[in-house]
């Protein structure tokens, strides 16, 4: 009897140590990943509050002797030519990203709804054709699109970027939203239509509110994608006053290659809007992925 109890206790103890082993392994791994992720960003912040002279030292100052916000002041000062440029790039990025986001929601919502609800000939083909867009790199489309944009007079306008950015947001947006609509029972709409709503009213009043997390996720994805896009903006825009942030910063700092504090401050400020947006809305994003894309 006691032997059995002893064995049971021992095996329990062994199981506990083994589980603890996994748990400790997980913790150590997470600490490692945290360092890998965070240290580069911390070093960016520390460098951005150094003077140009303090940044160029070996061994480096781990914490600056004289922390200064000069780089940020320079970038945000509308009197200064650097600040003027930076603020203009910032505004351009904001405009292009917002326009892209609004348009992709307007285009993706009805398309995803149709792919989810209707069975029309060619539905599967069109659905996968839309998804395949994800497969192709920007470079393939660059030359022909440049020529196309020139033909329709959009070169050097933000319209060329908005039109192009729409197409990389769309595939994922349609895919995510379709998953959402698949999970909304058709009976809800049918009930609304029995009560006298048109198909469109049922869509706006019943389906849209239920798919709000999906729409928010779609919007975040489009906004971040447009905000960070580089290669099209680099190719389509040549006038300084139209550049978006990634290209503007690159142009600017290829002339001032040694101003690392300024570059780090600019990188930081370029990242703030998207990081804040994402952190505030991330639960919708993860939920949309769970319900829209993964739950099958």
């Amino acid at each position: 009897m006691s032997a059995i109890a002893e064995t049971a206790r021992r095996s329990q103890a062994r199981r506990r140590t083994r589980i603890d082993g996994w748990r400790w392994g997980g913790r150590i791994f997470l600490v490692f990943m945290l360092l890998y992720t965070a240290l580069p960003m911390i070093w960016m912040l520390i460098t951005s509050i150094k003077s140009g002279f303090a940044a160029m030292q070996f061994p480096p100052q781990w914490w600056p002797d004289q922390p200064t916000l000069a780089s940020y002041q320079k970038l945000l000062d509308p009197q200064n030519s650097v600040g003027q440029d930076f603020l203009r790039f910032f505004w351009n990025s904001l405009f292009v990203s917002t326009a892209t986001t609004i348009l992709s929601v307007i285009v993706a919502v009805p398309a995803a709804y149709a792919f989810s609800r209707f069975t029309f000939p060619g539905r599967n083909f069109l659905f996968f054709a839309v998804l395949l867009r994800n497969m192709f790199p920007a470079v393939i489309f660059l030359v022909p699109l440049f020529i196309l944009m020139r033909a329709i007079g959009l070169v050097n306008t933000h319209g060329s970027l908005v039109l192009t950015y729409l197409t990389f947001g769309l595939p994922l947006a349609i895919w995510l939203l379709k998953g959402f609509y698949d999970n909304i029972p058709v009976q809800l709409e049918q009930a609304a239509r029995i009560d006298g709503a048109t198909r469109f009213q049922a869509f706006i009043l019943i389906v849209m509110p239920l798919s709000a997390p999906g729409i928010i996720a779609t919007a975040i994805y489009s906004f971040i994608g447009a905000w960070n896009e580089y290669i099209y903006a680099y190719t389509f825009l040549s006038k300084n006053e139209q550049l978006t942030l990634p290209v503007g910063i690159q142009r600017f700092f290829s002339e001032n290659t040694t101003d690392f504090p300024g570059l780090m401050a600019a990188s930081f400020m370029m990242s703030v809007p998207v990081v804040v947006l994402f952190l505030v809305l991330q639960r919708y994003f993860v939920r949309a992925l769970t319900e829209g894309a993964v739950k099958h």
């Binding site: 792919f115 030359v143 349609i174 990242s271």
Partner: protein
């Protein structure tokens, strides 16, 4: 067939905007690229003065030594980035699955690299790798592991691994988010039942969790592979493909051929080859996705 299309004409109105945008921005460029790949465009000439050269562009590519160098770089870059990003992201998702204090904050921090612009990421790491004032070099010298700061991105042998580290830094959070979403769909009852039956942590993972995640894993790996195959910003900003092509991958090479050297024909031929490779990857992508579809239909 036509009558069926006509009966459903109202349905097409919903997809029309999406399809129209896609046609303009995708179908036309693909056609134009294929056409241009059979022409030569001598520098200084207008694009419309192109000269038909048949398959010469393709032959020139396949016989050039740069092609093989760039291809092997692309393979190393894509496979290493995809594999390590997926493993790290999956492990993070597993480690973050159980609730603990600070989990939300930790998850948020781990996602940040994926959200920030690749241009910003490239500059941050370029500064970290800096051959005179870089922090990694300084730490190595400080610990006595090196006499002088190593040249990470100016040396032929270390440049590609160094850039892959940056790419993984930016990509593993995507795998983490996807796998976190996937883990939430693994039924708790099954895991508990397995535990009652005496399965240990590893067995529960291998026999219950992992099979449930097969589809998500496939989609994640394919999306990562395609994104890595198509990456441009990190190598372009950090090294521009150098030194001596050691960090050129297909996309940066095509870009340089087209916009740097104005060799539109050869660049287009490269794009067509790329296109063929991606179409075959796309076949698996669609199959993984339609695997989901089919299961949906049965439910």
């Amino acid at each position: 067939m036509l009558r069926k299309i006509w009966e459903h004409r109202a349905d097409y109105a919903y997809v029309l905007p999406a399809i129209a945008v896609m046609l303009i921005v995708i179908a036309y460029p693909i056609y134009y690229t294929i056409e241009l790949s059979f022409f030569n465009t001598p520098p200084g000439l207008q694009l419309r003065d192109k000269i038909f050269v048949g398959l010469d562009n393709y032959i020139a590519i396949l016989t050039s030594p740069v092609f093989w160098k760039v291809t092997s770089n692309t393979l190393i870059w894509t496979l290493a980035s995809t594999f390590v990003s997926f493993v790290l992201g999956f492990a993070c998702a597993l480690a973050l699955h159980r609730d603990f204090i600070g989990r939300g904050i930790l998850r948020a921090i781990l996602i940040v690299p994926w959200v920030i612009s690749a241009v910003a990421a490239s500059y941050i790491w370029k500064w970290i790798y800096h051959s005179d004032f870089g922090i990694i070099g300084a730490v190595l010298v400080g610990l006595g592991l090196a006499d002088r700061p190593p040249n990470f991105i100016d040396s032929v042998s270390t440049v590609l691994p160094s850039l892959i580290v940056v790419n993984i830094w930016r990509e593993f959070p995507f795998a983490m988010i996807m796998m976190m979403a996937g883990l939430q769909t693994v039924p708790d009852q099954l895991l508990r039942a397995a535990k009652v039956d005496g399965a240990n942590a590893w067995q529960r993972f291998w026999h219950v969790t992992f099979p449930h995640l097969r589809n998500v894993s496939t989609v994640t790996i394919l999306l990562l592979a395609v994104a890595n195959f198509n990456s441009f910003i990190i190598p372009w900003i950090m090294t521009g493909g150098g030194p001596s092509n050691a960090s050129h991958i297909w996309i940066t090479h095509i870009y340089e051929l087209a916009f740097g050297r104005q060799r539109w024909g050869v660049a287009s031929a490269y794009s067509v080859l790329l296109f063929l490779i991606l179409m075959s990857l796309g076949y698996f992508y669609v199959r993984a996705l339609s695997g989901n579809e089919r299961k949906d239909g049965n439910e």
